[in-house]
Symmetry: D2
Subunit: 354 residues, 4 copies
């Protein structure tokens, strides 16, 4: 931590600040006088609150954090890529994993048919929501626990892992019973009780970036889960809120290489929610892989015009999904990634029924 003083403060004030700092055990102040301002370096493990206090003190212009506030999530701490192995499917490192499926689980037939198509196209994980976070209280809120069972059944039958969103600590256990990966939605990235609860289990977690969160806050949210004892965390970029309204969000692809350099955790991209428009899913999926993503989570539906949530607007049709995966299979090796090594070639596209 570094303290920068206001210009022209007197020595007595500097000494008071130094004394205030050194009251903290194991912490030393290191004063460096400039022509205009004085800079005080703080050496040792200081409590983050110390910086905030100092910022409020008389004579202090600014306080700058030097060390990161997260540790376990940091690549300094864990230089090698984390690779999460779930029943033989590897996520992280040079593997490119594709998660596909509907926004919401609707009926056993719907999820079974979509699972079949995800598998045929080369996907490895089936996505689907049973509990839906909705802006207004009068919208469809998901089919609930029954949906978890439907999805688990479909995943098992077609040889796919499953991922579903969990919204509150009390549902973590039941979701973990049915699904292979638990997703934390963008609105819950800083739902700290939920994060803490997820730290107490071992089920892998896909943590979505808050739509207005910085990289630093995102990694601190991951740190909550890691610090609780669950090392199986994936980060997911899903678009941030900006002034542009043509797209639902602005997919921040720089987040992929930045998060991979700051952290060892796998980084997944969500071009469906990140754009909110079906026609942008293909180019932004390719761009995500080219930027180095460890995987994609993509919405696909057999009948998007009649899906129960309105997210059909961004869902690919099954033939678009299969074509995309075929093209990603070609693109992956150019950026040092392998596409679904366990499987037959991608894009064995088959007919589907609505």
């Amino acid at each position: 931590m570094i303290v920068i003083t206001k210009s022209n403060i007197d020595n007595a004030r500097i000494e008071e600040i130094v004394a205030y700092i050194e009251r903290n055990e194991g912490v030393q102040a290191h004063v460096s006088k400039g022509t205009d301002r004085t800079v005080i370096g703080i050496i040792g493990q200081a409590d983050p609150a110390l910086g905030d206090h100092l910022r409020g003190m008389k004579g202090v212009e600014n306080v700058i954090k030097v060390s990161k506030s997260y540790k376990l999530a940091s690549r300094d701490f864990h230089p090698d890529d984390t690779i999460i192995d779930i029943k033989g499917v590897k996520i992280g490192g040079s593997n490119l994993v594709i998660m596909g499926g509907p926004c919401a689980v609707e009926t056993p037939e719907q999820i079974d048919e979509i699972a079949r198509l995800v598998k045929a196209a080369g996907g490895q994980v089936l996505r689907g929501g049973a509990f839906k976070p909705r802006t207004g209280p009068y919208s469809f809120q998901g089919v609930g626990v029954e949906g978890l069972a439907m999805m688990a059944e479909a995943g098992k039958k077609h040889g796919l892992l499953t991922i579903t969103e969990v919204m509150t600590p009390e549902y973590v256990d039941v979701c973990a019973e049915y699904a292979d990966i638990l997703q934390v939605g963008t609105r819950n990235m800083q739902n700290f009780d939920l994060l803490r609860k997820l730290g107490t289990i071992q089920t892998p977690v896909l943590l979505k970036r808050g739509f207005s969160s910085t990289y630093d806050e995102f990694l601190n949210a991951a740190e909550y889960i890691l610090a609780g004892g669950n090392p199986n965390v994936m980060l997911c970029e899903r678009g941030i809120r900006t002034f542009e309204t043509y797209t639902r969000n602005t997919l921040d692809l720089s987040a992929i290489p930045v998060l991979q350099s700051l952290s060892h955790l796998p980084v997944i991209s969500d071009p469906s929610h990140g754009t909110g428009r079906r026609e942008l899913v293909e180019p932004m999926s390719k761009a995500s892989v080219a930027a180095g993503a460890n995987g994609l989570i993509v919405e696909m539906h057999t009948d998007p015009d009649n899906s129960m949530t309105g997210d059909g607007v961004q869902s690919l049709f099954p033939d678009q999904f299969a074509k995309l995966l075929k093209e990603l299979e070609q693109l992956a090796p150019l950026v040092g990634k392998e596409f679904n090594t366990e499987k037959e070639p991608a894009g064995a596209f088959v007919e589907w029924k609505k």
Copy 2:
């Protein structure tokens, strides 16, 4: 809802869109051909998901919501101001209420001393956090349930209402047992399970705007609580995230008159978190009142340099707090507000001990 087609689509496509709309019971389509595009008005109560589906259909350029998705929070539905009466303290309408206190409850002595000073200055509500939402897992997380008891005790002794933050549905009951008002923090504005739980009780709720939420999303979040059966909701503007980093957030004071015109609920301003800098609390408090706020929630601490959270940086000293309230008492009548009618003149400032 209004559907705008792409330019130059043929009649057959328009008929398909109309047929798709009219499959919904009680909904009619009204076609209006322009020189370039066709506009289809949807008349009747359509499901919000219909609009999303339409947006994804071939030939559709855009879909525009005409009706608001919230009802109970809307001034159309409830033209008069909501005035919440808590043990004789009225919030809403022409009343100007001041809530003051520390970021976090620390010790019985600390909260008792601060309560005494809030009361002496003319405040009516004591604020203080027992559970603290913190970006990183290694920061001080609050003193917990014990803090609730300390604050309730201090409030009772000094004749103040109390307000505290609740972060998760399972803590709603215990917080409501001790505090007069429950606060939902900015990160939980869309924690829908928490909102639903708060709808099942009658304790007044101060709902903070998500730091990246629109007015529409904010009012939809309030709607969750209202729709559950709890009519006692206050809205709180506390700053939004922008590209400016000099202030912690950008306090959006236009939110005050806008929310008051869209809704009947009281609007409170938080200049402490909204700026994150002590020296800005006074001008932005006055500006909030001048913009028409129904109240303020302001951090005050007897010893901010040694507070347990780092939020001391934005806490007023007791003498600054007393002076501010004295000045607000003069300002209030100029904008049609009454300052704390139950009490002695503001700002009877007294000595304090750290």
Copy 3:
């Protein structure tokens, strides 16, 4: 300037960085080793580009500016408020100045009638655009030089100063011939050739903040004019672009006290463009004055529904304008400001013709 290294870099690399810094004349490096990272303070007057170079060097994590890049605009350099005296009207310090008028000058009759009403209400400056910056090339672009003459005439007749926007260096001289104050619009805040040209004259300049500019960039833009030799600069907050679309911009009122603390220049608020909605002009005008603004620039039109630009939507009617000024006159002394000392009491409202 402070350089923060990456963690665990070796001594040789640190020495290279130090050597690189000390190649610059009059600059010294001051090394401070922490437990994790090393901090190198740079003492002396370093070129700003040095920091950028250092940021790109191997082993460097971050570079932090300590000194401000602007000097003449800074309160460190000029501790007293700048008060600009234009023909006896004082702008800055404890004076509250009101500038009012139409978005665009349209006809001699229009501007004369509006000038009469601005004066009657207690305004001191007549605003009006002759050259209009418009998003699209097919919109009305202003009446040009003729408009300047019409406005000068109306100002003279009614005893008002005049302010008009200048968009390009080649028009600076002609605008300065007719108007008392030249305005730089939000889109031109970083039109450096225009700023440099304005530095060569003595006519006062009202510089609007770029709608996506930081305080630091804003003060650096002012520095261009000051450094050229023109000390008569006013800063104008006029709203920034955020994700909220209900208001045209988000008026950032914290900018008022912040800019007044960083700089000695007067700060004017523009609640008309800052909100883009007529009904918000009154509350946000009052909030601006309560936050400490040195003046307001407000749109007023006798017939806004038929104005030549579309900005009628945010123009006050003359009676609203007169009422607002009357209320501001009462509010001003509560925040240490004096309203138009040269004149009769505000708000002597009179009938008007469209």
Copy 4:
């Protein structure tokens, strides 16, 4: 244009609004009453200002644009891709063009050496600034007209086109004399006098997106140039300003497919300014191409640590540049693009001298 009324307004008010609309020649109003609000469609070519006026009228809730305000830039107007042919180098369509070079031209030797390396790597255009837009007045402002001559000489010798930034209308002619392409910087995207001047010549223009501009504003800015008579416009995405500060800007890659669908103009990506960090240039260049960009503009310098501007921090070294182009050559065909068809295989990297 569509007008949406407030709820529950009476028929008389609706008739007044209709009468107001129909005063405009060639414009018709089409009323459609909903259960709650009335929608009035405006048919015919209405002036954009009409919408703004209507928005300000009593009883009007909102006004929505249906037609785009730009025409010549729109793909509706010009369905085929624009391909700009400059001395045989084709920009647009399936061609992938690479522009490379330093931030600023410094000396004849510097620009000659860099030109040699751009050419050897497979680039087709040499970039370099002679006039530099700088935030503060005390930074290096470019070498001026002499720099234009140096760059023209280097381009000619090595068989490269040249591109340079022009900042003010009066310099357009001299810049066009020396350079093959003129660049409008992000701060000047809405410098309308500059845009108008560029419309009067035929030299191709690369127009950078304002760092806080919407797609709609960007295309309207292009429209100024096109409407003036210059059809040779390229659009350049260079990052927008968001709350994230780790990267200098947030490169919005969705802009590439969106602009290509709304417009026929070529879209170039600038990963150097779009990220502000050297290590992100490679992944974001690949992502840009994968998203469908028609070209890239990339900073490269033989000695970035000693460049005259501080932009060395984002400049690639020559070997990184050559490696990148070699990889892009492989990537291009996977997304339907051809890399520099006129040349030898990319990446014939050669030694360089600082």
